[in-house]
């Protein structure tokens, strides 16, 4: 299980990587992809949609179930990772490389955990 230190985490297993104060990439953690199993579909918002910290912004489906993905930041969707629409399995193969959305005009963020804190949370949940 990987817990890279250049991103911050939500308790609900999303990660956020700040490119600068106002811009961030968002994805799901290695733990999340492992728990969800093989992902076969990703539903992403559209560019220019607004997203809100702590609210669902996307959903991912495994062969068995659908799960909401929560947004770590408030802002506007600048870009979506279109590669995921055809290859949702990238989320399984490279969870920290396969960002889902790029958010700009970030004005707020949810409670975020460091890699150490998130790793501890996972250890406690296990």
């Amino acid at each position: 299980m990987e817990f890279p230190k250049d991103v911050l985490y939500m308790k609900s297993h999303e990660w956020v990587k700040f490119l600068d104060d106002k811009t961030a990439l968002v994805g799901i953690s290695d733990h999340a992809q492992s728990e969800l199993g093989d992902l076969v579909f990703v539903n992403l918002p559209l560019p220019e949609d607004t997203v809100t910290a702590g609210e669902p912004f996307a959903d991912v489906e495994s062969v068995k179930a659908v799960s909401d993905v929560y947004c770590p930041v408030t802002g506007m969707v600048a870009e979506i990772n279109e590669a995921l629409l055809d290859k949702p399995e990238l989320l399984n193969q490279d969870p920290y490389g396969a960002w889902m959305i790029k958010v700009t005009q970030v004005t707020d963020h949810a409670d975020l955990l460091s890699a150490e804190e998130y790793e501890k949370l996972i250890a406690e949940e296990a």
């Binding site: 199993g37 093989d38 076969v40 579909f41 539903n43 959903d59 489906e61 495994s62 062969v63 068995k64 659908v66 629409l85």
Partner: protein, 363 residues
């Protein structure tokens, strides 16, 4: 409190992700994941613990008469060593359960039922028994494995003694030894592939499981969980109780008319189904054209704008082998022709789908 099958510890040791299902704790998948497990069964072989299934024994002078009365299929032409599928109906025509009948002899049958319906079925059968018959729930004394896939025969054949493996689909050998373990072996399954189901004593099943996995490993055999069991049966369009049929859906509506012999003397549900005539709705296969996955209980519409739903999905998933999403749905017969465009509401999004012929996958 869920029960454990005798293989519970073996599942944990093999990395199974355990979930409650039908009153049992069973693995939904192992380390390989649902897609790899599904593909193993389609291309090589997979091994499932299906010990949760219910087994009911029906013996005695009037056993046959009871089957004819309780079940919709006709058992007149059935030979010893045959398996036969049948729905079991309420007087309304709704379905109590669907099950597999194994015939040992004219007065000796085994019924294999869905785990979640086991107690309901036993009670239903017991309260409708006629004449001289001995009926017993032997589920707790019976474990079951399913070895499924194109290489199932190649894996099993070297392990057999005391007789030959059943050759014909839907037949069985009652007393074989597999790797020295006494088993009933039938050429049956719930995946759309060739394969076998093996019944043995609970105390022997861990040994059988380990020996099969060891023998099959060089050929690509892996353990498979409930997740793959469901995607496999769905891809093969096999109906599942509680989805494609239940107490409010008749076997005729869900496309099981072949297993309802209306010209048979009398059976529970016959009068109601005769009175209902040709069903007004039908189970269809839907292939999704838009991106997304429709699951069960989604509303189905005749157009993108329609306000009134015309039906609902009964199951749906992404098919790992076919590589696209499908669903089954109950819709009015005039919307059931292959090629018909229908729309499915998936959590607020209306996805376009097309009626296609069932099964989605055929080996």
């Amino acid at each position: 409190m869920e029960l454990k099958t005798p293989l519970y510890d073996a599942h944990l040791a093999a990395g199974g992700k355990i979930v409650p299902f039908g009153g049992y704790l069973l693995p939904v998948q192992y380390g390989a994941g649902v897609i790899a497990e599904h593909m193993a069964v389609r291309t090589k072989a997979g091994l499932f613990d299906v010990s949760h299934m219910g087994e009911l024994m029906l013996k005695g002078k009037d056993a046959f008469r009871n089957l004819q009365h309780l079940l919709t299929n006709d058992f007149t032409t059935m030979a010893a060593g045959d398996c036969r599928y049948s729905p079991m109906c309420y007087p309304t025509g709704g379905v109590v359960d669907d099950l597999l009948v194994y015939k040992y002899a004219d007065d000796d049958f085994l019924l294999v039922v869905n785990a979640s319906n086991r107690h309901k079925d036993a009670e239903w059968i017991r309260s409708h028994l006629l004449g001289e018959v001995d009926f017993k729930d032997i589920s707790d004394q019976t474990a079951q494995l399913a070895l499924q896939g194109p290489l199932a025969h190649e894996i099993l054949a070297p392990l057999v003694s005391g007789g030959a493996l059943p050759e014909k689909y839907y037949s069985f050998a009652p007393y074989l030894e597999i790797a020295g373990i006494r088993c009933l072996v039938s050429r049956t399954g719930y995946t759309g592939e060739d394969g076998y189901e093996l019944y043995c004593a609970p105390e022997d099943v861990t040994d059988l499981w380990n020996q099969l996995l060891e023998a099959g490993e060089p050929l690509g055999l892996i353990p498979c969980g409930l997740g793959a069991r469901d995607t496999l049966r769905l891809e093969a369009a096999m109906p599942l109780y509680g989805h494609e049929m239940d107490e409010n859906i008749t076997p005729l509506e869900t496309g099981l008319g072949f297993f309802v012999k209306m010209d048979k003397e009398d059976f529970i549900g016959k009068a109601a189904m005769a009175a209902q005539g040709k069903p007004s709705r039908k189970r269809v296969g839907l292939k999704l054209k838009d991106r997304g996955i429709a699951r069960e209980a989604c509303s189905v519409y005749a157009s993108a704008e329609a306000v009134e739903a015309v039906g609902r999905t009964t199951s749906g998933t992404h098919c790992p082998y076919l590589g696209y999403a499908v669903a089954m749905a109950l819709v009015p017969v005039d919307l059931a022709a292959p090629g018909t465009a229908l729309w499915i509401d998936v959590r607020g999004r209306r996805l376009q789908a097309e009626v296609v012929r069932l099964p989605f996958y055929k080996r």
